[in-house]
C-alpha cells in the first residue's frame, strides 16, 4: 500500500495526547513551532482522562487524584484560564479488620490526638516523619524541572548540572547525606520502622509506597516511591492531594485548549504506526489511517518500550540501547474499578461525621497484609486481600455524578498483567472485580447494593485502552536504577534518543509519572534547545 502523504508539513509531531505529550506540544507551539498531536483513541487524555460510561456519571478512568502537576506548568500554560481547577481533599482513613480505624486530618492537633489513640509515641514521632519527608522533598523538588546531567559527559552543561546536584547534596551536611542515600534505596517498611511502632500507622502511610509499583512494602526502593507521592503540593501545601474539577480529564482538556489557543492541532483516531527515518534521522510518522506526516522533530509521549520496540525500525537502534529498553522495568501491577453509586456507602469503622470519608480510604491495616497482597502478585494471581486506594470525589466535586449519587474510584494494588492461569478474559476480569467488591464489602455492608455500574480495569485493559505497557501507571518502575540520569536508560536521560530528531517526553523519562508534567516540559526545553529556539524564554522553565 502506498501511503498518502499529508499535505501539510509540521515542525513537530507529538505521539499521544496524554498530559506529557500535550505539555511538550504546548511549549513547542508557544515557541512558534507548528505542532501536530496525534492520538490513537477517539478521545484525548491518555491516562488523565474523564469519561462518561454510565448515564451522567463522570469517571476519572485511570489517574484519579492530582498533586504532582507542577504549578509552574499550570501557570505558564494558563491552564486555569482554560478551565483547570484543582481542589484539595482532606486526609484519609484506613479501616481495620477489628472495626477500628486510623484517620489522617489536616489539623495538627486533631491528627496528633487521632494517632495517639493508637500510640502516644507515634503521635509525637509523626512530626519527625513529616519533617524528614519535607527535608527530602526540599532536596528533590528543584531537580524535577531540570534535565538530569549525564555523569559521564564532559560537556560544560552536564558538568554544571552535576556540580549543582553535588552542591545541593553536599550542603545537606554529613548526617543528612547518609540519610538521603539510605532513603533512596531502602524499603518503605524499614523506613517507617525508624519512626513508628504502631502497625496501623505504618500500614496507612506505606500505601503510597506501593501504589503503581510491582514491589512490596518490604522491597528495597519503596521508600522513594513514598516520597514520590509526597513531593507534590497544592498551593504550596506540600504533600496535599486533590481532585481536578470534572475529573482528571480536566487536566488534559485544559492542556488541549491551551495548545489549540497557541495554534496547535490535535488529530484523534490517528495512532502512530511507525516513526519514519532516513539516514538515522527521524523524518516523519506513519499513522494507522494510512497517512504519513512529515516533520523533522518527532516527540513520543508513549512509554519507552512502546516507542522503541513498537514504532521504530530496530535496525536503527544501537544494540546496547535496544537491550536496555527491552529490560526496562515496566511491570503491570495495578487495577482499577470505577463505580457509580446510588449513595455514599456506610463504613461502620469510620465515626459519624468524620471528614476523612471525603479523603482516601483503605482497608489494609498492616504491613504484613500489604506484603501478602504482593506475594499473590508474584505468584501470578491478583491479591486475594488487595490494597485499595478508594475515593468518592463526587462528595467534593459536584460535576462527577448526578445530585445525591456518587462516583467512587477504586485503585487496586496488586493485579498482574499476565495471570499464572494465562491471559485475562471476561470471566477473570469479573472475578477480579468481585474480589475487590468483596474486600470493600467487609468494611461496608451496604456497598454492594449501592452499585449501579462498575467498570473493571485490569493491567491488560489499561495497556489496551491507554497504551501503557503492561498498564504500568508510571511508564516504568520508580526505582533508583531507573531514576535521574538512569531514566529511562543510561545515556539517554536527556529526552533525546539514538535516532536524531526523535525525542521522548513521557513518564518513562525523568522525573517519572504521577501526572506531574515535568517530563513533557523538560523534553520541550531540550527540543527547543536543539532547534536553537531556546532564546524564546519560557517563564518558569529554567
Amino acid at each position: 500500500m502506498t501511503a498518502i502523504a499529508s499535505a501539510k508539513r509540521y515542525d513537530a509531531v507529538v505521539l499521544g495526547a496524554g498530559h506529557n505529550g500535550l505539555i511538550a506540544a504546548c511549549y513547542m507551539a508557544r515557541a512558534g513551532l507548528s505542532v501536530l498531536v496525534v492520538e490513537r483513541n477517539p478521545y484525548i487524555g491518555g491516562a488523565a482522562v474523564s469519561r462518561q460510561l454510565y448515564q451522567d456519571f463522570t469517571y476519572s478512568n485511570c489517574s484519579y487524584v492530582c498533586s504532582l502537576l507542577r504549578p509552574e506548568i499550570m501557570r505558564t500554560l494558563e491552564l486555569p484560564l482554560h478551565g483547570l481547577q484543582i481542589i484539595p481533599y482532606e486526609g484519609g482513613c484506613t479501616m481495620m479488620r477489628d472495626g477500628g480505624h486510623l484517620a489522617l486530618y489536616d489539623n495538627h492537633d486533631a491528627l496528633r490526638r487521632e494517632i495517639s489513640r493508637h500510640s502516644k509515641r507515634d503521635a509525637e514521632a509523626y512530626d519527625r516523619f513529616a519533617r524528614d519527608m519535607l527535608r527530602q522533598c526540599r532536596f528533590i523538588k528543584p531537580l524535577l524541572m531540570r534535565t538530569p546531567p549525564d555523569p559521564t559527559s564532559f560537556k560544560p552543561r552536564d558538568l554544571m548540572e552535576l556540580l549543582y546536584l553535588g552542591q545541593r547534596f553536599h550542603r545537606m551536611g554529613e548526617t543528612r547525606m547518609y540519610e538521603t542515600l539510605r532513603f533512596w534505596t531502602m524499603s518503605c517498611a524499614d523506613f517507617l520502622d525508624e519512626y513508628f511502632e504502631s502497625d496501623i500507622v505504618k500500614a496507612h502511610l506505606a500505601g503510597s509506597s506501593i501504589i503503581g509499583t510491582a514491589l512490596g512494602p518490604r522491597s528495597p526502593g519503596t521508600a522513594y516511591v513514598l516520597l514520590h507521592h509526597y513531593m507534590g503540593d497544592i498551593d504550596d501545601a506540600v504533600g496535599a492531594w486533590g481532585f481536578a474539577r470534572g475529573g482528571m480529564g480536566a487536566v488534559t482538556n485544559a492542556l488541549a485548549a491551551s495548545f489549540q489557543a497557541s495554534g496547535g492541532e490535535i488529530r484523534c483516531n490517528a495512532g502512530a504506526e511507525r516513526v519514519l527515518t532516513s539516514g538515522g534521522r527521524a523524518v516523519g510518522v506513519a499513522l494507522a489511517d494510512g497517512t504519513e506526516v512529515r516533520a523533522a522533530t518527532i516527540v513520543s509521549g508513549l512509554d519507552v518500550k512502546r516507542t522503541f520496540l513498537g514504532l521504530v525500525d530496530r535496525k536503527d537502534l544501537p544494540a546496547e540501547f535496544h537491550r536496555q529498553v527491552e529490560n526496562f522495568k515496566i511491570r503491570g501491577s495495578s487495577g482499577k474499578l470505577n463505580i457509580a453509586l446510588d449513595a455514599v456507602p456506610s463504613f461502620p469503622a469510620i465515626p459519624e461525621g468524620a471528614p476523612c470519608i471525603r479523603g482516601d480510604l483503605h482497608i489494609t491495616d498492616s504491613i504484613a497484609m500489604m506484603e501478602r497482597a504482593y506475594d499473590d502478585w508474584k505468584a501470578g494471581i491478583w491479591s486475594q486481600a488487595p490494597y485499595v486506594d478508594m475515593l468518592i470525589p463526587s462528595q467534593i466535586d459536584p460535576t462527577m455524578a448526578p445530585a445525591g449519587k456518587h462516583y467512587m474510584s477504586v485503585f487496586v494494588q496488586y493485579c498482574p498483567y499476565e495471570l499464572a492461569s494465562g491471559s485475562w478474559d471476561d470471566g477473570k476480569r469479573q472475578a477480579f472485580g468481585e474480589t475487590v467488591i468483596q474486600a470493600i464489602s467487609r468494611q461496608s455492608p451496604d456497598f454492594r447494593k449501592l452499585i449501579l455500574h462498575a467498570e473493571i480495569r485490569t493491567p491488560w485493559d489499561i495497556e489496551n485502552e491507554v497504551g501503557l505497557t503492561e498498564g504500568n501507571i508510571f511508564q516504568g518502575e520508580l526505582t533508583m536504577d531507573q531514576l535521574l540520569f538512569n531514566r529511562p536508560v543510561p545515556g539517554y536521560a536527556q529526552y533525546r534518543s539514538p535516532i536524531r530528531g526523535l525525542y521522548m517526553c513521557g513518564s518513562s523519562t525523568h522525573p517519572g509519572g504521577g501526572v506531574m508534567g515535568a517530563p513533557g516540559a523538560n523534553a520541550a526545553r531540550e527540543i527547543l534547545r536543539d532547534l536553537r529556539r531556546d532564546d524564546l524564554r519560557l517563564d518558569g522553565l529554567h
Partner: protein, 402 residues
C-alpha cells in the same frame, strides 16, 4: 474520667480545653483565644496592658496546663536526665527545680524547659514542644520510665509582687520561705497541691500544680484570696511582654528547635542563644557535648543578645545592619517590645560576630504602617546585658508581700 468521655471527638473539636476552662472562659471579655500545644487558651482576657501590669504590680494568674509534661521515674532517672540535658542534674536536689536545655548530636537546641526533681528518682520535665519519641529513644539503656502526663496535671502560674501574699491568704503556710526554684507541698481544702517558686516573668512568682479534679476549686479560692491583692487572670500576650523583659527565649520565636527544622543551618547552640551558663562541659558526657566543646574552642559565629533600640517603636522582625546605610546585614530581631516598666525599647536579636559584643552599635530597619502608609526607619540599637528587668523581689527569701 467523664469529662474526657463527654468531650466532642477530635475531628470536630481538635483543641482540648483545660480543667480551668469554665473559669477562664467566663473571665474572657474579648473572646480572644489562641491554640497552644493542643489546647484552646486565652490570648487576651480584657486588655493586654492591664493584664501586663497585674504581673508587674500585683498578682497575675496564668493557666499553664498546656505546658507539655513528662514524668520520668526509675533507678536511672538522674543518670538519664544528666545524659539528656546540658546541666548537671546531680546537683539538683529533691525538692528543687532547674531550668535547662537539651541538644541533638550537633549541639543544637531541641528545646528548653524546667526539670522538677520531685523525689530522688522522680522528675517532671516541662517543655514547650512534644518530643516523646526523642525522650524514649534517649532512654535506651537506662532503667527509666518516661510518661507523658500533660493531661493529668493542671497548673496555674501566679506571678507578681503580691503573689506570695495571695498564697498566704489562701492558707499556704510557710510558702514565703520557698527559695527561688524550691518545690513545696501543701494541702488546700483537703487536696494536695505542689507549689514551685518558678515562672516565666523574671518576677516574684509561683507555679501551682494539682490534679485536674481540684482545678476549679483552687481557681475559685485563689480569686477570693487575691481579691484585695489585685489578682487578675492574664492571657498569653501579657505574659509574652514580661518574658521579653526577663530576657527569656521562646522556641519557634527566638530559635527553631533543631529536631523540628526542615531547612539546613537553622539549628542553634546554647552558646549562640546566650545560654552558656546552662552548659556544664565538665559533668561528663551528655548529648551534643562533643559538638559544644568544638564550638567553644571555635567561638560562636553569632549570638542572641539583648538590644536597646532608639525611639519607641518595637523593632518587630527587623533586619539588623552594621551601618546606618543598611549595607551590611548582621542579623535579625526575633522578639521586640516597648517595655512599660523599663521605659525602654527592647529586643532580642541574633547578631553575627563581632557585633554581638556588649556595647556594640547596630542598626535596625523598622517598617511602620501609619494609617496604611508605610514608613521606613533605621533606628540605632545597642547591645546590652539581659535581663532588661530584674527586680530584687524575685530572689528575696522570705518573699515580700508586695
Amino acid at each position: 474520667m467523664s469529662d474526657a468521655a463527654n468531650r466532642p471527638p477530635h475531628f470536630k473539636q481538635p483543641l482540648l480545653t483545660t480543667p480551668f476552662h469554665s473559669r477562664t472562659r467566663a473571665c474572657s471579655t474579648v473572646d480572644q483565644f489562641v491554640a497552644w500545644a493542643g489546647y484552646t487558651t486565652v490570648d487576651v482576657y480584657t486588655t493586654v496592658e492591664q493584664e501586663y501590669f497585674a504581673i508587674r504590680n500585683a498578682c497575675s494568674v496564668y493557666d499553664l496546663t498546656p505546658m507539655v509534661k513528662y514524668r520520668i521515674t526509675g533507678k536511672d532517672a538522674e543518670n538519664y536526665l544528666n545524659r539528656l540535658v546540658t546541666r548537671d542534674v546531680r546537683r539538683v536536689k529533691p525538692g528543687r527545680v532547674a531550668y535547662s536545655v537539651w541538644c541533638n548530636d550537633d549541639g543544637h537546641l531541641i528545646d528548653d524547659g524546667t526539670i522538677f526533681r520531685l523525689e530522688t528518682g522522680e522528675f517532671l520535665l516541662c517543655t514547650a514542644a512534644r518530643q516523646l519519641d526523642w525522650l524514649l529513644d534517649s532512654a535506651i539503656g537506662f532503667d527509666v520510665a518516661v510518661e507523658e502526663v500533660t493531661e493529668s496535671i493542671a497548673a496555674l502560674s501566679l506571678q507578681g509582687p503580691t503573689s506570695c501574699a495571695v498564697l498566704k491568704a489562701l492558707g499556704l503556710r510557710g510558702v514565703e520561705r520557698l527559695r527561688p526554684f524550691d518545690i513545696g507541698r501543701f494541702v488546700l481544702g483537703g487536696a494536695d497541691m505542689t507549689v514551685s517558686r518558678t515562672g516565666f516573668t523574671g518576677d516574684l512568682g509561683y507555679e501551682l500544680w494539682m490534679t485536674p479534679a481540684d482545678a476549679v476549686s483552687v481557681w475559685d479560692r485563689l480569686m477570693i484570696a487575691g481579691a484585695s491583692s489585685g489578682i487578675r487572670p492574664i492571657g498569653s500576650q501579657a505574659l509574652d511582654m514580661a518574658r521579653i523583659e526577663a530576657g527569656f527565649i521562646m522556641p519557634n520565636i527566638d530559635f527553631v528547635p533543631a529536631e523540628a527544622s526542615v531547612r539546613i543551618g537553622r539549628g542553634r547552640s546554647p552558646f549562640e542563644l546566650g545560654l552558656e551558663w546552662l552548659v556544664d562541659l565538665k559533668k561528663g558526657h551528655f548529648n551534643g557535648r562533643r559538638a559544644l566543646v568544638a564550638e567553644q574552642k571555635r567561638g560562636a559565629a553569632r549570638r542572641l543578645v539583648g538590644l536597646d533600640i532608639d525611639g519607641n517603636k518595637p523593632a518587630l522582625k527587623a533586619l539588623l545592619y552594621a551601618d546606618k546605610s543598611c549595607r551590611r546585614e548582621i542579623g535579625a530581631i526575633s522578639s521586640a517590645l516597648w517595655s512599660p516598666t523599663c521605659k525602654r525599647n527592647i529586643a532580642l536579636g541574633l547578631v553575627d560576630a563581632p557585633y554581638f559584643e556588649t556595647g556594640r552599635q547596630v542598626w535596625a530597619e523598622i517598617y511602620l504602617c501609619r494609617e496604611l502608609e508605610w514608613e521606613r526607619r533605621v533606628a540605632r540599637g545597642v547591645v546590652v546585658e539581659k535581663p532588661f528587668y530584674a527586680p530584687a523581689r524575685r530572689k528575696v527569701t522570705p518573699a515580700w508581700d508586695r
